[in-house]
Amino acid sequence: MSDKKAVLKALNEKARAIETLAEGEEESARALQEGPPGMPAGCTTVFDTGWETNPRPTYPVGNCQASARDFHGCAGDCWWPAQVPDGLTNHPDVDKQCPNVARDWRKLQYD
């Protein structure tokens, strides 16, 4: 970190804010791994990365087939909030808009 700081210089307000934070401001966010809860909130109830991320180097490999069949399972519980609607907070009614993804995917409206 100190090596990087020696050669990098903050040029704008945001960069200076980040630098200030790094120099001793109270943490406002932290990685979940640092605990508690101590594990990343992922796909399984042990809040580890789950079935679909599949860390194994060998069989079984692959995600759900077709991925649309896993859409509502992931949307409702907010497992992949960057990829599918977040059913816990921002899109609790996603099931009304698109109850059957294979049939209704054209009706999906979310950011």
């Binding site: 042990v46 809040f47 079935w51 060998t58 069989y59 077709a66 859409f71 109850p99």
Partner: protein
Amino acid sequence: MRRTSLIGVVTALAVGLVSFQASAKDLFYYIGNGVIQVIDGDTDDIVADIPAEGWLRESALSPDKRYLYVTARRHLIHKVDLKANKVVQTLDVSGGGWDRFIYGFDVAPDGKTAYASIRARTTEGGEVVVKPPRLSQLDLATGKVLRTLELPWDAATLTTVRDGRMVYVIGKDLYKIDVSDDQMRLVETYPMYEKQMNFLPFWNYAWENGGVFMANYYTPELMGLLAIDKKTGEIRDTPLNGIPVFAYSVIYSPDKKKAYGVMDELNVIDLETKTYESITVNHQGTCYGINVSSDGSKVYVGGGGSTVTVFDARTLRPLKVLQMATDGMDLRRVTF
């Protein structure tokens, strides 16, 4: 005369038993989005739709099989009258400025209360406040929280055991909660995380399995089955031999000599040899839920996508593919 009467009574009882067995009927409940669809196990036709608000998740059956409780959007609890095929009550655990999310739910053996593991969040001064999960006992008639116990952060799925004297909660480890006294207490932790056991136990078929909660887990090397006898509280771990298959959910055959698992394939597991007997591709794609007819002749897979495939349990050939109204989460069997 007395002997004749005795024979008559025995005969009548025997006939009654035969007629009871003959009249046992399977109904399958497809847990969908905004709807529960009922499948007749004799004809494998959809015979009823039960509107139920929200994306649906856990389900638990009342002891008299009259009501199915189904959680929705992680904060609603629908009470479904299985005679009327209708939601007759909906409880909401959110309120008072708090969002609450149910990640484990089971009806107590008394049928009057339920246990839920609930996470809560709110905002204070623009900051998100998240509370550790709590085990809550709920009055099913009023929704009133009768008592709570703070749980470890990872606690989620749960099941009642030992006639309701204990609740087992699954997270990184399995937490045994004594609920027999006024004050609920964590009395034992069954280690799983240190054994590298990774669970997604959202599907369990305790009443279809004759009172055994079962979920599959993975380690970096293998798939195993963790079974909890709800009557005794005994935990049985069955690591399986061979390269693991992918499965979201698993269920016993009625004779418990086999288990079936499903994700992209229908997997048959020989429980005597603890090996995978067969792997059959489900051409409809990934399924979350699995179930078995009460006579063991048919296997049903469905949810995830909007299909239910009925397999012949002996030949593993698909007998029928049902197109459901919505995508779904699970498939439960109630035998009347």
